[in-house]
Symmetry: C2
Subunit: 364 residues, 2 copies
Amino acid sequence: MTSDKMLPPGSTIGILGGGQLGRMLATAAAELGFRCHIYCPDGESPAFDVAAARTTAAYENQSALAAFAGSVDVVTYEFENVPAATAAFLGDQVDVLPGPRALAVSQDRLSEKELMQSLDIPVAPFARIDDLAGLEAALGQLGRPSILKTRRFGYDGKGQVAIRPGDDPAAAFEAIAGKPAVLEGFVTFAREVSALVVRGRNGETAVYDIAENVHRNHILATSTVPAQLSATTAGAAREIATRVADALDYVGLLAVEMFVVEDAGVERLLVNEIAPRVHNSGHWTQDGCIVSQFENHIRAIAGWPLGSTERHSNAVMTNLIGAEADEWATLAAEPGARLHLYGKAESRPGRKMGHVNRISPRVG
Amino acid sequence: MTSDKMLPPGSTIGILGGGQLGRMLATAAAELGFRCHIYCPDGESPAFDVAAARTTAAYENQSALAAFAGSVDVVTYEFENVPAATAAFLGDQVDVLPGPRALAVSQDRLSEKELMQSLDIPVAPFARIDDLAGLEAALGQLGRPSILKTRRFGYDGKGQVAIRPGDDPAAAFEAIAGKPAVLEGFVTFAREVSALVVRGRNGETAVYDIAENVHRNHILATSTVPAQLSATTAGAAREIATRVADALDYVGLLAVEMFVVEDAGVERLLVNEIAPRVHNSGHWTQDGCIVSQFENHIRAIAGWPLGSTERHSNAVMTNLIGAEADEWATLAAEPGARLHLYGKAESRPGRKMGHVNRISPRVG
């Protein structure tokens, strides 16, 4: 069920997941006068520290879910691997946004790619993989190197393995535990970009300026805005993101990650993956725009008019991974840098501990 | 006691007072990875919704205060009328910033004016009033109209009464219940401005651009930046605020409200009053600067380097008083406007319910 009413200030936003995205959603919601109730299995969740109410329970705990649903006016989530059964159970009692279709599609790389094909949106060449024989056949078609990726539960490079010339396909298939997968042809891209579109309950859309992303060890390292991109390609990226959001009848903030391929000086876009949530590559909007991705996600799910996605400054967002956040004192002293820390007690290698937005006057 | 160490992320900031200023301090602190513990006698405090820990108790409750002090790494406050005994009690266990001198001076209009005099900072002509005879004598000196103001606990026009030609001084003295007071000569000012200075534990200072303020019914209505002010006068306002902060060995954000008087085209500044806390006339910094007054206050009391006070945009802040906040849906749809709502359950006439920052490209 999805109602068309605007939730008035004082309403309670329920958020599944208590990590940094939930935390930043909660503070953005508070700025609009909303209360937040965070639901997370982990009692040490960073988002708990900025929420009016907290539930620590498993996503399968139906009595906890029922109580949660009864205490909130809308439910959203900070990660796309919310179990479908959890979303369906909550959805019987309260609006869950983005809706089940967005969740289903983004939880399955194959569905994601098939959706893009149905929308005439280019993706890397791919094949569905269900067994080793299929993998070997697909390698014959797509060539090497290719990348074998599990259809479900992959993120930050987890659940994927490259197959290079000489590599044993059986070993690769074993590395992903023989799970349903897709094989993707290797794409030589000039750069990676992302388009963040927000879509309201009434179908209104707005897109932030395209960010150029650099990954390191499969984890986002930096996002830079404006991206090095022709105006035509930037426009195409915005249009693709909007087309995907419209096709999903999406409500909230949707991130669409793309590769930019250059063929003889001509830029082409391939969609890599989508995320039905606020996204790391949109953290620059906190300090580069009047209305951040977090506020716009809350506005959308609350049925409010969207806020401006206009950019007032240039921005470079740099993630602070693991021990990099130990440099907080140096970063805090840097002029033009806005430091964001997530309040995580324990720093582990590969763990996102914070980010810094380096802001400069708008050019381009 | 005041230590010189930088509080690491994960430390807990204690805040006395749970209104909108405490709420906005708490979310700013969370952005830097701090936890917040709000102490407020009112169980319905807006700041509770964004805090990791809450205490509902009276400011005289020593066992609650002791437990609070034991749970936090530094204490600050969102209002200047914290009882001196409360601050002293907490100060025996933990740093309380800004310190007792700033609190004592700003709680007493007479001390405030005497401090300005000792610093050669102009104020409106005034006289100390302890009894009716003194009031009548002072009226002879300062003329009419004059304004009789209680020395303590005045805000938003409370505790003050104008004495115009023909008014009975005894009635005015009775209107303030015969409390210790000051009589202020009437000042015909061209405009009101405020300078917000932040001072770190190491004495470092930074000043935001001067805001021009309009009051309605003694309550701040709008703050506009940049102010209509010559560069010389703006520089003088910044210098005055810095001088006051230095004289108080202040730590945190200090607001200095001033009148601009024009004599034959020459601008002169008179200090009206100071507030030892984040201030309504600095709310524009949330959307006009990279680092807001709230974050800079937290940085200062945590012993961190100050953040930039540079302004990236022009801004007009408009308070939403009482029923004005009922227009939230219209305001939310206005391009270039950033809406801030405080999550107060009940709208009452004169109650500050939120504010809106209207942002435009920086000019001047």
